[in-house]
Symmetry: D2
């Protein structure tokens, strides 16, 4: 990510001759300085994807005017598109349970401005991290989830997310399955870290499953949450080597290092508008 203020245009459209030319002409006409640009053609589906960073002060107008001036180009190309401003910090809501590793990791990155975001609040079904979160000056909400209270609990999560104008919800080892309604309300905006290398070991206790199968590597997967459990579009994955001497507890411990790193990378790609969802897959312009 660049230090100076910039706009990030992301778009997809049917593939045809002249797309890059059409879009970059528009930018060049207005003296827009392109900092970074990435393009991808999905040959099978005939769809085109792009991400362009333009230096904000190189343009003679602001985002609102960019939007209205660019709309005809987008129409012409039948584009799905959006543009964001690096000066507007994304508002992230973090959901956790009782495991600390992803939470500490995210707060360290936020603290150092490596993740240049607002953490609007932290929501948990336990109060374990209330003191820790509040010490950082971040609001903490304890929303218990029991078999009976699920509907109410998820309604409350949603209310809190709306109240703080959340852009992105991060399940940082949140050990509850969100309701289908909640998943459906924010497509491409809820990130989860699953503690296996999907599609292996879907669902509960993936490290136990991995132990039983005798695999030689374990992994973690950052994906967008959809109504189908652990089936959403994958953003990032990684693995770590284990061997016969590792117990399930060892695997849980090793796994944490992969989980927090994969979540942090996936979240960064998402926040920097590097991820474009395409069906149940992602284009990630790293």
């Amino acid at each position: 990510m660049h230090r100076e203020r910039f706009y990030t245009l992301t778009a997809s459209c049917p593939d045809q001759v002249g797309i890059i030319a059409r879009v970059t002409n528009f930018i060049a006409q207005h003296k827009g300085w392109i900092l970074e640009s990435s393009f991808h053609a999905d040959d099978l589906d005939g769809r085109y994807f792009m991400r362009i960073e333009v230096k904000a002060d190189s343009l003679p107008f602001h985002l609102a005017e960019f939007r209205s001036r660019f709309q005809p180009v987008a129409n012409e190309l039948q584009m799905d598109w959006r543009i964001s401003d690096s000066a507007v910090k994304k508002r992230v809501v973090v959901l956790v349970s009782k495991q600390e590793h992803c939470l500490y990791d995210l707060l360290a990155r936020w603290q150092s401005k490596e993740l240049d975001i607002e953490i609007a609040c932290v929501i948990s079904n336990h109060d374990t991290f209330k003191g820790f979160v509040e010490w950082h000056g971040i609001p903490f909400h304890h929303v218990p989830v029991t078999a009976d209270s699920k509907a109410a609990a998820y309604a409350e999560v949603r209310r809190l997310f709306e109240e703080v104008h959340g852009d992105t919800m991060v399940l940082a080892r949140y050990m509850q399955i969100l309701s289908p309604e909640l998943c459906a309300a924010y497509p491409g905006r809820i990130l989860n870290i699953h503690h296996s290398f999907l599609p292996s070991f879907v669902g509960a206790k993936p490290y136990h499953q991995a132990y039983t199968r005798g695999v030689k590597l374990i992994g973690a997967t950052c994906h967008y949450v959809t109504e189908a459990l652990d089936q959403g579009p994958i953003i990032e994955q990684d693995v770590i080597r284990i061997d016969h001497s590792d117990s399930v507890e060892d695997m849980v411990r090793y796994g944490k290092d992969i989980e927090k790193t994969v979540l942090a990378r996936g979240l960064r790609y998402h926040l920097e508008d590097r991820v474009l969802v395409h069906g149940n897959k992602t284009v990630v312009f790293r």
Copy 2:
């Protein structure tokens, strides 16, 4: 592997106090020089595993006498055990189809004595590599496999394997599914390389499956063949990073590099008696 001649003792037995002492005392009494030793306790199953390399000329007797003298110790400890001699080269039979990468890789390692084995013969359901294999002075057998000829074909494979006194059969991207009889005949002696990170993407066209699911890493798995397709004990696995820009063809290409490396590593562990099968898992003393 050490250059001087050595014996490799591998064993497993119920765990109890004094196993290492009992075994290493026997070796020390006979002035046996231990080059390398590895031990593993499976806490859940209460089973103990070991592998010990003893310098051959440090002992006052040869393998046959080692076997008879050690048997009482093994009986006492209720051991499953075996001992091999580094001077006796393992006899390997390689099965291939039309893909060259694993075959070239194995022959290069054999050529340079990195794999210090006899390649007793190569068997293929195609004659693609007849010239290449024979140029290396290795017998080549073309055993076609058609829907109707399967039983006869696998009988022939078995006959050839027996005829050359094969120790180990290696499916080096052999694109046929062995018969249950053949699998059952040589438990822990047939190695396969599967072109996915098992248990993901069992069966046919795993790279297509991986493409469709949108995973961010692809892998390969070296495992012992059992009657259940792609379900046998895993010996070695590895992965390689891909991204949205990679087509299935790209994945096939990247995958080859992982396949041949994982097969070579798994085969080496097997040939050096580093792999002990434990149920459907393996202990690999690297």
Copy 3:
């Protein structure tokens, strides 16, 4: 690491016939239950290394008596040896400057008991993390280091380390070079994380050096501190892939993930008595 209490014996001695037998006999005679054991022969130097975990309550005596009873065995074998008790938590002193990633990471691991240690205190040449550390109930000492005050500052660091009976000192991105006296006072007890893949890019600004050289991977190294800067025995290393699009700032960011993971792994090996120093190298029984 096992849950039940255990003793860890680590030793090295000249290689000869019968070492394992001699040591494991001693343990077996006293009904000691071996949980884990590792052995290594350095063929070039003729030196033998071992690490054995024995279940504490399987033995009929405690550590003091183990020590006195084992000493004759050790003498016989000319052993350098030590034994530790898993019930006695190691006392760690952490030194930091202004970068948060290693500190947050260590505190998260300590918080969850993944690192089952006492953090006796945190010492820093800045007061940046005073509040954060103290919130965790850990004493914080601000010991400024200026060009003129170095001698006094390191004397104070040493006094604090002694006062809290520190076992291990961890330089968690402490951006000062310790005095030769301090290094010499605690051989094999001070761990540093260097932000390059040593021996490449010794000294200051390794990421800038890496950028200039155009390497395709960057790394981090956890090593014991000696008087020679960045030359001490290496405990653990790892790398991460970069490319031409990564600026020095990107490399610093990626590097943090490797630094904290490598430091945590190296520290764990050290605290679990898995590291035996051998000249300027280490044997690490993972």
Copy 4:
């Protein structure tokens, strides 16, 4: 790489507003279909890099006309540029000594058309692989190199390279140091695989150096050859984990797997015109 015929334009120029627009406009005007495109701005040096693949039959003219029509655009932008045709196979000359792993690996990739090149000839200072190379139908030249014959030997290498109209020279573990004249004659066209993770362990016996230093990972580096030994622009690198139990011989063996993979990847990037040299660094558009 795509199956259909395409042209690959690679270029660099001073950075300014409108570069992408200018170039892609030219292509779009002629109905050129862009298959793949990559752009990179070096912020520090103010230089811009690009690589564009255009489907050959989407354009109304051939390469010669493309060249002459594009030249004014290139002049305007002060570009260094070139364009290649996927239908014209690159002519590669491979230099080897007595180690087989890179040679077998390259021939397997060539055999399967994974590397879609002509291997114009193989040159070696030994005759070890004469039979193997010639069996593949590739000319083999034995050019001995002795202390006295160096000048004549390298003159002969150069003559052979010119005679077969070689595009690229690959040192596939060629254990001789090319003369400065030869290096200077083909800048950016001679690839070497060095058996260490440069800049660590320059020069002879890098695995011995690595063993002595006690590193925990070893690596390999594919780079362009320049007159300064092991100092040329790095194209690709990778590493593999080792530990205290690995001898120099083990490291040599592990290293081979990294060497051949890194060389193959680096060579592929080079052959597909994915590598742009920039001072002593490379931009690699993977």
